[in-house]
């Protein structure tokens, strides 16, 4: 099996197909909180979901934040325009997420997402809803977004394929910003070939996003895989033993695996969070409660009080990041934190690019199995941030990466992540395609099966 999109397009759909999908999805959604808005499609296309921080004209887009409730964008994101133009897809709705993308578990929002494979556990984040929708629907693609691992993490926890392109390959116009120099729109699906189809539709320079590029995307198939020891130090033992078996399997498939040490990789977490929070605190400054989204009522209040009152709508993590980001940007510490982090990013890009010249970097996607929601709730911010160690380096350095299941532990998937050199986006997708020839993914739900 290669493409669910092609399979769906070749099938005759029952007349009430979308009614049934809508009905079943709505029912499951009330438990799992995958969607913020579900729309019954009218077109005869492949079901498509869009993360709630990507603007769809005329449809409430909140990035799962209370402060954006009621925001109806008067325009489509470029990625949405490009997909709608093909007339091959039917828009199903906006998927849930951690507020503004602030989280790795999908619980920093008013309706915490639940993992369809074990409903006591988290679905991962921040693109929690995109991953759940992909795990629920047989024929469907999800447009998601990653800043530091927001596609890989939930894709891994929900057992689907999650692809994050090289920074700049897919236009960000219409994305409600978290951290502009790190945000990347990407795709989740049930097969690597579907991801390739979506990349072809959405990629390429967009005059509305000056940071988008037309750099040629390569499809380099490397047989050399590199494991960075410092990353594996943080991985749960149970996962490690399974991962080692996976590595052996890959060796059997003709890959060579090389272990290397890269001490500086540990700096990627603080460097990433410093840049992300500095940028986020400026992006969130615009939410002042009167032009869109949540409206504070009393205009007679002096503007500072009016703004402060409106900004009480932010969740705790958003407030924490605003305060931290504001601190990091203060003139007196800016060089120490912000500028230093930009230097580290540059250095890491240089070092990783050298490694990736003739290889892929491989690691488990997440260092832990999806935690119980109650466990995740009680984790401290530092523990939370540290859980992103495997996904952050590729995200910080704008490298294309893909996460896919390689084994199962009971009902829960174990996923690996392949990182490629900048603009070798087809290369990492091809790796997953190759893997799929040797491994059959398991899906618990198949809503919309024909």
């Amino acid at each position: 099996m290669s493409s669910y999109i092609h399979e769906f397009e070749s099938k005759v759909k029952p007349k009430d197909y979308y009614d049934k999908v809508y009905e079943e999805l709505s029912k499951v959604n009330s438990r799992l909180n995958a969607f913020n808005v579900i729309i019954k499609p009218e077109q005869d296309g492949v079901p498509l979901s869009i993360k709630d921080n990507i603007c769809v004209k005329g449809v409430e887009s909140t990035a799962s934040s209370k402060i954006l409730r009621g925001y109806i964008p008067p325009f489509n994101a470029t990625v949405v325009d490009r997909i709608f133009k093909t007339k091959r897809f039917s828009f199903l709705g906006k998927t849930n997420m951690d507020e503004f993308g602030f989280g790795s578990f999908g619980i920093n929002c008013s309706k915490p997402a639940r993992n369809p494979l074990d409903e006591d556990r988290v679905a991962g984040g921040s693109s929690s809803g995109a991953a759940i929708a992909t795990a629920l629907l047989k024929y469907h693609v999800a447009i998601a977004e990653s800043t530091g691992g927001s596609i890989s993490s939930p894709a891994a926890f929900c057992g689907v394929i999650g692809f994050t392109p090289t920074y700049s390959v897919i236009s960000r116009y219409g994305l409600i910003d978290y951290a502009n120099s790190l945000d990347k729109i990407g795709v989740m699906a049930r097969s690597a070939d579907d991801i390739r189809i979506m990349l072809d539709i959405t990629k390429g320079k967009d005059p509305r996003d000056p940071t988008s590029t037309n750099t040629k995307i390569t499809d380099l198939h490397h047989k050399k895989l590199v494991v960075i020891d410092e990353l594996l130090d943080k991985v749960d033992d149970k996962i490690m033993s399974q991962f080692n078996m996976f590595i052996d399997k890959l060796k059997g498939l003709g890959y060579t695996v090389e272990n290397i040490s890269l001490k500086e990789i540990e700096l990627s977490i603080p460097a990433y969070y410093l840049i992300a929070m500095a940028e986020a605190s400026t992006n969130l400054a615009k939410f002042t409660g009167f032009k869109y989204g949540f409206k504070a009522e009393d205009f007679s209040k002096p503007y500072n009080d009016f703004f402060t009152e409106a900004r009480e709508e932010f969740g705790t993590e958003a407030k924490r990041r605003i305060i931290l980001g504001t601190f990091i940007r203060s003139a007196s510490v800016r060089d120490k934190y912000y500028s230093k982090s930009l230097i580290i990013r540059g250095e890491l890009i240089d070092r990783l690019s050298k490694i990736l010249k003739d290889a892929f970097i491989i690691s488990p996607t997440m260092p832990i199995l999806p935690p119980k929601i109650s466990e995740a709730d009680s984790m401290s911010p530092v523990q939370n941030y540290a859980a992103d160690i495997l996904t952050i380096p590729a995200n910080l350095c704008g490298l294309p990466h893909i996460s896919f299941p390689y084994s199962y532990s009971g009902s829960l998937p174990l996923s690996a992540q392949i990182v490629g050199s900048q603009f070798n986006d087809y290369g990492v997708i091809s790796f997953a395609s190759e893997w799929e020839k040797n491994f059959k993914y398991k899906f618990k739900y198949n809503i919309g099966e024909i």
């Binding site: 109806i72 000056p210 007679s300 209040k301 250095e347």
Partner: protein, 90 residues
């Protein structure tokens, strides 16, 4: 971080916290900053700032006027009075 510094940050970011939130977020932030301080271990003489992760050639757009067609939908997000957007008192 001194209490005064923390209050200053709240003021300039227009964020209000109750006492309990204040205590817990302040403690979190201190821990996070301690954790983040490790970036200062990186003391190479390098000083090239990577503002973006990939190389991007800035291409400005041409100076052309194009009317935004959905003005009504734009303004329907907000409260207006005689065509003006209503904002808080200054």
């Amino acid at each position: 971080m001194e209490g005064e510094e923390f209050d200053r940050l709240l003021k300039i970011s227009r964020i209000k916290l109750d006492e309990k939130e204040k205590q817990s977020i302040k403690r979190d932030i201190e821990n996070i900053l301690e954790y983040f301080d490790s970036v200062n271990k990186f003391d190479e003489s390098k000083n090239k700032l990577a503002f973006h992760s990939v190389e991007i050639n800035g291409e400005p757009r041409k100076d052309e006027v194009e009317k935004f067609e959905d003005r009504d939908e734009l303004l329907s997000n907000t409260k207006t009075y005689r065509g003006f957007v209503v904002g808080p008192k200054i």
